[in-house]
Amino acid sequence: MIKDRRTIMTWPAMLTLLLFALFPLVIMFYTSFISDATGEFSMANYAKFFSNLTYIKVTGTSILISLCVTLVSLVIAYPLAYIMAKKLKGLKNIILVLVIIPFFTNQLVRVYSWLIFLQDGGILNRLFMTFGLAENGLGILYTKAAVIIGLTHAFFPYMVVTIFMALERLDDAMLEASRSLGASKTTTFMKVIFPLSMPGVISGVTIVFIPCLGSFVEPRILGGTGGLTIGNIIEDQFFEIYGWNFGAAIAFLLLAMVLICMGGLNSAGKRWQV
């Protein structure tokens, strides 16, 4: 009886989810099988995607960009999180606030700031040119590199937070125990700190890589043609070309990719869980 009454309480939430998340998804899944050209129910949209090399290439670009963003974020976030959690504990709140600022910045403001910063005649270029480091400007804007910079800025704070939380939980006595048992600082890091921070690293990777795969604002504004991503293709289908059904098919392919990645990362995370 009691159990029944409890489940009743969850019904409104369930209903909302069903109505606003699952239902549109089902509709989209259905339309992804309707050919934009003939209106027939077929695999045509999916076939179209796989038969066109451009789409495959753009998918490759998306994956490449997301991998780079994840890697760069990891390289920035790990030392930062480590310093916050273990070295400068007194400053951790200040650093955390500084790191989280991109969270609170409007996406467009953030991206356009990079646009201004990176463009020819922008601050960065002029700086490099005054010091004679680059003669004709860096030409970073409208390349994959610009997209990677923009996306890293947007997503690395997530990584800092997840790794910080994993390291913060680590008992300092454990590190001292390792040292007392004869391990150097490096060995202690490799054998104790790093393995124990892996769950944080993996959630960080998940939380950065997945949204990057589907991103379309940064690539659109900073990426030019070389930095176009799968997100842009979907966007175009919906807003430019009105190929909604084909767009839905690509969206589902992206969703499939996301689910596979999450599954993989999740099981990797389980292996490191203690």
């Binding site: 001292e176 125990a177 040292r179 007392s180 048992l181 004869g182 124990l196 203690v274």
Partner: protein, 357 residues
Amino acid sequence: MARVNLKNITKVYGSNTVVDHINLDVEDGSLVSILGPSGCGKTTTLRMIAGFEIPDDGEVLFDDQPVGRVPVNKRNIGMVFQSYALFPHMTVAQNVAYGLEQHGVPKSEIPGRVMDALERVHMAEYAQRKPKQLSGGQQQRVALARALVIRPSVMLLDECLSALDKKLRVEMQSELRRLLEESKVTTFFVTHDQEEAMTLSDRIVVMHDGIIEQTGTPREVYESPRNRFVADFLGKADFFEGKLVSAGNGIVTIATENSELTLTGSTTAAPGEDVLFAVRPEHVIMNPAVGAETPVGALRGKINHIIYSGNVISSIVDCGGMMVRTEATGGSLSREPQRGEEVILSWEPDYLIQLEK
């Protein structure tokens, strides 16, 4: 397996001298307890021996060699922490093997030594478990095995039993004593539990506010405390303070603020000096007062209140405004003391302890 000397070691945090020129010589293979109230600098002292803190002054010597420049991982120490600090991602066996690997023990020897160490703490059957799957007491045994397996020259234990419940703690105390004696390792044992310090150690170091108040065997420190702090911190004590009037024939007379007291005992002080005496409550014999006569050297008073704590019955006796505590083991009393009862308190002359003023 090493003689340890602390020479004038000092640690200052900001403007706060936490450890203040401590000197201590510890024999090879002996077990020393560092005892003192919270914040007196016990952990800091231990961490300086370990090498986690560098003394601001003075030096630590292992076998007469200064170790100031030797990093923690080269000092060959075994540490056991209050939080056990086992590596949660390794099995019990891997935890114990860790130190051996770091010390370059040949791979073929490691499993044997690990099992041997685990057997000695009765944890062999748990070798393949993760620390999370063990109780606190079991984790503590593993932590001990992990520290002992590398055959350290110095063992450092920081309140390592205080997270265990009373019964388990007492059990672990005797086991710890056995293990440490077997391995003949020089041991520093930090605790703020005086009973633990008494039962475990060859010598007790009583610390207070960054200095050593007294060092000695448990018996010495308990029976001949040097000053008020030690007498009060180890066990309980009744204090008598005043100016010495006269002494002799087993009787000491002192003038307190408002009266003159005669106490059974002797003193080395000269008349006119300020003196402080103490008596342990369990040495105070309480008898019902018969007649108006108070024997010389005894105190007369009224029982103010009685504290019953199972094995011990304490009576707090009001001797003209001065509260004197007496203790008797439950079975040794011929009759229950009564509140308000008139009593005579006395003790054997040897039990009057003269303290430093």
